[in-house]
Symmetry: C2
Subunit: 76 residues, 2 copies
């Protein structure tokens, strides 16, 4: 079973990587980029029948820092 | 206009970060994780009417290293 886990910073959390990318795009001549937020994506191959609880636990324990990050799980 | 740009390593390119995550999940007791690939996601807010060509150029020039990475653009 394939999973895609998308981890993004919560709203209100400063994102210096995103800001740096936004400025770099401006320097390269791309105007009109008003915001950039950077995040992470993990594509996992797990055993069929892995429970939603186990997947949530993986995210909480390792993949996401839930103090500052949101995550969402997509089955693919 | 909001865009989501997902950058992932091409098949066949070694992914040490993914391997480290896979091993860490195993150490934490999550069995059955047979593969992990790590990637990046960028959420951009761009001016309405930004052309597909401009978006592709942003990806080629800055956001993705197209020698080793694939990218895809989703409009949200």
């Amino acid at each position: 079973m394939k999973l895609r886990i998308v981890v993004t910073l919560k709203n209100g959390v400063l994102d210096p990587q995103g800001k740096a990318i936004q400025h770099a795009l401006g320097s390269l001549g791309f105007d009109g980029v008003s915001d950039v937020r950077a995040g992470k994506i993990f594509e996992l191959t797990v055993a069929d029948g892995t429970s939603d609880e186990a997947i949530d636990e993986m995210c909480h324990k390792l993949l996401a820092n839930t103090v500052i990050e949101n995550y969402r799980v997509e089955r693919i």
